[in-house]
Symmetry: C2
Subunit: 271 residues, 2 copies
């Protein structure tokens, strides 16, 4: 998918919402556990309910891998169920030596058919490069994550500023804004202005909205660009907005509420 | 597995060899491709041939994930086939926010029954902590990797020295040498003396020997400790030492040669 396609989709839905498809088996409604594939049954209803409001979907691989081969099959079915216009993100946080990253790229871009994969920067250029060899596919590189531990290393002073700023700078020598996005957590809203100085055009994938407490307006003010430039993710806040047979309707309402918050921010700060 | 158990096993076999079980489907012998599970058939023969010389086995998850659910099943069978005295490492390089890392820990320590998993440090303490909640299970944290891109961020100057030195220091506030190992590539032999100053007792997992060209004697001189302290990995150099029906015998010879190089180094520098 091109950056222009993604921006058109954002404009059409007036939303930059990404739904994190993290189907925690201990939290999915009891009535779904009788289904042959409870995880896919859950995801399918979440997708149906949220599709009018979401432009991207981001399954975190951990939720599937922890279930063994059956989880992998649920993931495949989920991915096949998603319509082609939505942007799909394998939240895998991979990164390995070149010949190994090439296999992860094959796993996420060929065996599965994701549009993008999240990659950890620690191992440097040759660990990221193999993911950039697929036209129309994207790397979403961790820069400043939403968790407390992000302060342990990502904020360490280096000659090029805090480590995450050096990651933003170095990675732009590897790929442009048509193939590279950055993860910047909503839990660091004060940083978005600086991130936009360093990466004025790249899309940012923003976790930490909703359950993790990030501030959407603060993120949008500095994060949105003339071509959109933001995907803001919510997982638990949408998936588990309700329980029981009404879970999907509740998820749809939570996604609608998020999109309703996003539409005026798009009018004000993007386009 | 305890550190003492691992050291006893190293002494018994007079080897600190780890075999990287990275069964590249494009390289495994043609005659195995008729087997119902070629990957497991390959691994089983590699294990049989190398077991007298190896104390640890390290499947890299990419090689299995790139094959979808079938790959995951090959991995499960491989892990069940390995005898309990060998140390098993899920080379997964994972790391995510706390609730998600907890699921990866479940995947590798419960769904599968690995002794350890490799973890990337970029996301900090709360991304690593969930892997430390399993008594007898280990985190193998990336510090200084064997690839060229290791220079991009791991060697950046920070107030605590090059970033990888800060990782060594900070991680030791999270766990001791009974639960934490570090990855330090054999391609940086000059660094081992400094690593041992900073982490005198922790086991180091050393990739980059063999196909990647690292120098074993240089690594052993500074890396070995009174309790062993080293696992040196070879993947391609052993797995693809030969081809055709004699592939396993060739792998066994390559492993025997590595162990023969290791025994006198143990006598000289360890114990």
């Amino acid at each position: 998918m091109t950056r222009a396609d993604l921006w058109r989709h954002i404009q059409a839905k007036r939303s930059f919402l990404c739904v994190g498809l993290d189907p925690d088996v201990t939290k999915i409604p009891v009535h779904l556990r009788r289904e042959p594939d409870p995880i896919f049954a859950f995801n399918r209803q979440i997708i149906d309910a949220t599709l009018p409001y979401a432009v991207a979907y981001k399954p975190n691989l951990a939720f599937y891998e922890s279930l063994g081969p059956a989880g992998w099959e649920s993931l495949q079915k989920t991915l096949e169920y998603l319509p082609p216009e939505v942007f799909t993100i394998a939240d895998a946080k991979r990164g390995d030596i070149g010949n190994t990253s090439a296999l992860y790229a094959r796993a996420f871009f060929e065996t599965l058919a994701f549009d993008s994969v999240t990659v950890a920067p620690y191992m440097g250029r040759d660990s990221v490069q193999p993911f950039l060899g697929y036209p129309g596919k994207w790397v979403v590189l961790l820069a400043l994550t939403s968790n407390q531990g992000s302060a342990d290393f990502q904020l360490l002073a280096t000659p090029g500023g805090p480590l995450f700023e050096q990651v933003l700078a170095t990675a732009q020598t590897w790929a442009g804004p048509e193939q590279l996005m950055f993860v910047v957590g909503a839990t660091h809203p004060a940083t978005f202005a600086r991130v936009r100085e360093l990466a004025p055009e790249h899309f940012l994938l923003v976790p930490g909205y909703g359950a993790q407490g990030g501030d959407l307006a603060a993120v949008a003010r500095h994060g949105l660009t003339a071509q959109g430039g933001l995907l803001v993710n919510s997982s638990r806040g949408i998936l588990f907005a309700g329980d029981g047979p009404g879970f999907a309707a509740a998820a749809g309402q939570a996604a609608a509420a998020a999109a309703a918050e996003m539409a005026p921010l798009l009018d004000q700060f993007a386009g």
